[in-house]
């Protein structure tokens, strides 16, 4: 039962600043995802929590107490590396039992616990195999069992799904979620895939260039992104430049109503997710109605993506059902509705 706090954590490698003033709380018994593009400092943070790296400044707290003086081998913060790192000279069982052997646990107890944990990751009876006799997905699960067997206070997973194909990803994701729920273990997952973070985590910390851009539940990143960069990372493509005054924003395509929100008046960018832009019949009763021309229709099986031009050069994308898209060919004029509570202003 551990709450993990990062306070103003920074890490330099010589000239390179890998992590800069990151403050984040990973709540007890929840999954927190550290999300961000390659090289933004995710692994560095994970290794700092594990004790494999010393921060340049800032602090790491477990349940309110700094753990920086404690060496990695005593922290019980177990990291599962990106490429699983099973010891090739040990059997699968010896790999899983490694942590217990280091703690001097009796061989018979280890053997029994190894079987239990192999069963837990759905690999019963494979204790005598060699790691290279397992598939990639099985190796990943053995690495997970090897971490879980020592009952870590914090489980640190670095890209646990990145080496797996789509089908195995789904399976592994469910396994991680169900084990985490059953064991109620504070877990921090590193990933560069926003979909994975959303499906796996209770809380996401999104990072760019060593800095934390936004922290919150997954839905926040769709509904209340803090910057254009955050919105783009989560797949937003529609941005309208304008001047905000109260609940109205003047843009190049007209004045638009928005829902009440805490953003200060002044220049803003309005964003709306493609799935929230609606095609409507031409009548004047809805607010935020606009005329547009269809420029391109991209069929994607479950939906069709329409690219539209408003006015002279404002582009918008919307998602609609393939059947609805049939009625609007390329070049036709359409009417759009931008629901005020889905228009979100970015500073």
């Amino acid at each position: 039962m551990t709450k993990v706090e990062l306070q103003q954590l920074s890490k330099q490698f010589g000239e390179v600043t890998a992590v800069s003033h990151v403050s984040l709380t990973a709540p007890d018994g929840r999954i927190t995802a550290l999300l961000g593009p390659s090289g933004c400092g995710k692994t560095t943070i994970l290794k700092t929590i594990a004790g494999l790296l010393t921060p340049s400044s800032g602090d790491v707290l477990f349940n309110g107490r700094s753990i920086l003086p404690i060496p990695a081998e005593k922290r019980n913060a177990v990291m599962v590396f990106q490429n699983h790192l099973l010891f090739p000279y040990l059997s699968v069982g010896e790999n899983v039992g490694f942590g217990l052997k280091m703690r001097g646990v009796e061989a018979a107890v280890i053997r029994q616990k190894v079987e239990e944990h192999l069963a837990m990751v759905q690999l019963p009876g494979l204790a005598n195999r060699r790691p290279n006799e397992l598939s990639g997905g099985q190796q990943q699960r053995v690495a997970l069992a090897r971490a879980l067997i020592v009952e870590p206070t914090v489980l640190l997973l670095d890209e646990p799904l990145s080496n797996l194909d789509a089908h195995l990803r789904e399976e592994m994701r469910q396994l991680i979620r169900s084990l985490q729920r059953a064991l109620n273990m504070t877990t921090i997952v590193v990933t560069h895939d926003q979909e994975e973070a959303v499906l796996l985590a209770d809380q996401i910390g999104l990072m760019f260039d060593g800095k934390l851009a936004q922290v919150g539940p997954p839905s926040d990143f769709y509904e209340r992104p803090s910057t254009r960069q955050v919105a783009s990372f989560f797949g937003a493509t529609n941005f309208l430049v304008g001047e905000k005054r109260g609940n109205v924003v003047e843009t190049a395509v007209g004045s638009l109503q928005i829902a009440p929100n805490p953003i200060a008046d002044g220049p803003v960018q309005l964003t709306i997710r493609p799935e929230h832009v609606q095609l409507v019949p031409a009548d004047g009763r809805l607010p935020n109605q606009l005329c547009a021309t269809v420029q391109e229709a991209i069929y994607a099986g479950t939906h069709t993506r329409l690219r539209l031009i408003l006015g002279s050069d404002t582009a918008l994308t919307l998602l609609t059902s393939p059947s609805a898209a049939k009625t609007v060919g390329v070049g036709t004029a359409v009417h759009l509705h931008l629901p005020p509570d889905h228009l979100w202003p970015l500073p």
Binding site: L52, A72, G99
Partner: protein, 272 residues
């Protein structure tokens, strides 16, 4: 059945060729050691005798004492060279640091510079510190030709070494010693065997350095052997040669399986 035979045959042939090739040179030595009279045109000795072997194993010959000295020196050199070569090889193979090329060159220098030249200079120094005429001095001077090979082999294996395995063990609760014992050691074990083999054999076959620093007090097998070569007694020289070669050969056979070409431990040579 026939298919298995076919795939086995070339291998067995090659193996047989190697065994014959390695062992053939010993046949004349063996014959010499038991010959009494062996004059030019005859293919085999005219009469046989165990005189040479009786002499070799008699206390008078001091062969056993020389065998003891050689073994003691070679084992100490092996242990010491690995103790030094392990951290040096790790630093050279794993880490980037300024002056790495210079350090690498300095370590390799003894393989290029004639050791005798260096030993002459060292001799003076060794006299001052009381390191001549004793085993310790001989062991230290043997390190000069031995260390380059040991460091080279070990830096080769560390060049392909992933230190994340140690980090993984550490987060699982392994102490520094446990990480060495359960991660580093099993990973580099084959290279360690090869390095040990090189150290042992190079030390085992040193002559001039031993003579120079040992000053006739540390009589190892090569020192003894050369005194017989100059005496011109072929039978005893041959018997002694066999005694000299046997332990090295045994050591080689014991570690041969680590010498196969696909071992990462030999990667260091690719870098030369």
């Amino acid at each position: 059945m026939t298919r298995i035979k076919q795939t086995l045959q070339p291998r067995t042939l090659i193996l047989a060729a190697i065994v014959v090739g390695v062992l053939l040179p010993f046949v004349p030595l063996l014959l010499w050691s038991v010959s009494f009279r062996w004059l030019y045109p005859s293919v085999l000795p005219e009469s046989l005798s165990l005189r040479a072997w009786q002499y070799v194993f008699s206390p008078r010959a001091e062969v056993l004492s020389a065998l003891g000295y050689s073994t003691l020196v070679a084992l100490l050199v092996t242990a010491l060279s690995i103790l030094i070569g392990l951290p040096a090889g790790r630093a050279l193979g794993l880490y980037k640091f300024r002056g790495k090329t210079a350090v690498r060159f300095l370590i390799l220098a003894p393989t290029i510079v004639p050791t005798l030249a260096a030993a002459m200079g060292i001799h003076v120094l060794f006299i001052r510190y009381g390191l001549v005429d004793n085993v310790l001095g001989v062991v230290l001077v043997h390190l000069i030709p031995v260390l380059p090979y040991v460091v080279l082999i070990l830096s080769g294996v560390f060049a392909n070494y992933n230190p994340d395995f140690e980090a993984q063990a550490q987060t699982l609760g392994a102490s520094a010693w446990q990480r060495f014992r359960h991660v580093t050691l099993p990973t580099i074990f084959p290279a360690l065997m090869v390095a040990g083999l090189f150290a042992f054999i190079i030390s085992w076959s040193q002559y001039i350095l031993t003579l120079l620093i040992g000053g006739g007090q540390v009589v190892t097998l090569p020192v003894l052997l050369f005194s017989f070569v100059s005496s011109g007694d072929n039978a005893i020289t041959a018997a002694l040669s066999l005694v000299f070669i046997a332990p090295a050969l045994l050591f080689l056979l014991a570690t041969a399986r680590y010498l196969s070409g696909n071992q990462a431990s030999l990667g260091g040579f690719g870098k030369l």
